[in-house]
């Protein structure tokens, strides 16, 4: 899993590359901890290059959403593929994430 960070105004764009599973959730968790420590509370996660998310990935995403909410921030997801959307729907977490089709739509929502 590769993690790329980019800054768009006051929003941090996090591009994840690779599967989000139990082998790499700790790395991703650390990356988001660092983002929060730097007081960057608006984050957009690009899922364009994430082929699959397992239960550890979903648990991590729920944790990140809560951590950003605690910091009065916001986390959105974009470019989520149909397979992952279906995983979110089947596990009933789809309503807990702000999911957008494109960067532009997501950025407008902040």
């Amino acid at each position: 899993m590769n993690i790329k960070l980019e800054k768009i105004n006051d929003i941090t764009l996090v591009s994840l590359i690779g599967e989000l599973n139990m082998d790499n959730t700790n790395r991703v968790r650390e990356a988001f901890k660092k983002i929060l420590q730097e007081k960057k509370v608006k984050v957009l996660i690009d899922f364009h290059k994430v082929p699959f998310v397992d239960s550890s990935g979903i648990a991590l995403l729920l944790e990140i959403v809560q951590n950003f909410a605690k910091a009065n921030g916001r986390m959105c997801l974009c470019h989520v593929n149909k397979k992952i959307i279906s995983v979110f729907e089947i596990t009933k977490v789809h309503k807990m994430f702000n999911i957008f089709e494109s960067h532009e739509d997501a950025l407008r929502s902040f």
Partner: protein, 246 residues
């Protein structure tokens, strides 16, 4: 070990996409059991929810009992892992599945737990809200707490009777501190007279006696009557809501 678990979930999802819902549900359940044994309750909750949803997709499914049980177990796991918002959502899905299966007692229990988990989530989230969120959440929490205490979110309507009895006794005590007018004679009521007046004021039931409250008792009688107007229909609504399901 981790490879096995990862592939179990992926296999389950592939089976789901191929339309093999039952096999997918079984695999998700297996994964959930592994996570339960490892005390990874957050992941167990997610896998149980996936298993329940997979079962619900089975064409020609006649009973939703197993689906409901899986959602409920998932909700309990989410509660253990302190994710109360997710627990509330899974309890809600469990309640819907029980209702489709005509298991009204289980529906009632899960509906109550869904609301209660959400109320606890609101309490939890107050500490990290900004001012605007705090006001909104405090409003929701206040409404939810009243609904919880007064009639258990509509699922415990008998609580209103208890509430009414306590209210009648408390107001009776207030009335004993003031006085009434009977005919043209003012008098200080004893407790049984005050309790009778309090009961008829709250329920609007019983033979009318010409007793006029004086001073602060006027104010108390208006408040008690006002509460009675709202809570007694609430009791009847709760009772009808519950018994019409059977």
């Amino acid at each position: 070990m981790s490879e096995v678990k990862k592939s179990t979930e992926q296999q389950a999802h592939d089976l789901l996409e191929q339309g093999n819902y039952l096999e997918a549900a079984e695999l998700y359940s297996q994964a959930a059991k592994t996570f339960q044994r490892q005390d990874k309750h957050d992941r167990a909750a997610i896998c149980l929810a996936a298993s329940a949803s997979s079962r619900a997709l089975i064409l020609g499914e006649k009973t939703f009992h197993r689906v409901a049980l899986l959602y409920e177990e998932g909700a309990q796991e989410a509660e253990i892992s302190k994710d109360l918002e997710y627990a509330s959502m899974l309890y809600k899905y469990a309640a819907i599945a029980y209702e489709r299966d005509n298991d009204n007692n289980a529906f009632s229990e899960c509906f109550f737990k869904s609301k209660e988990s959400y109320r606890k989530f609101l309490i939890q989230s107050l500490s990290h809200s900004n001012f605007k969120q705090w006001i909104e959440r405090m409003g929701s929490l206040f409404t939810a707490t009243i609904a919880y205490l007064l009639w258990g979110y509509g699922e415990r309507p008998h609580r209103i009777i208890l509430f009414g009895l306590v209210l009648i006794l408390v107001f009776a005590l207030f009335y004993t501190q003031g006085s009434f007018l009977s005919g043209k004679v003012p008098f200080k009521p004893n407790f049984s007279q005050a309790a009778y007046f309090s009961f008829t004021t709250y329920t609007k039931v019983g033979p009318e006696e010409v007793l006029y409250p004086l001073g602060f008792n006027k104010f108390f009688a208006v408040i008690e009557g006002f509460i009675g107007i709202f809570t007694i229909p609430l009791y009847l609504t709760g009772l009808c809501r519950k018994y019409l399901r059977y």
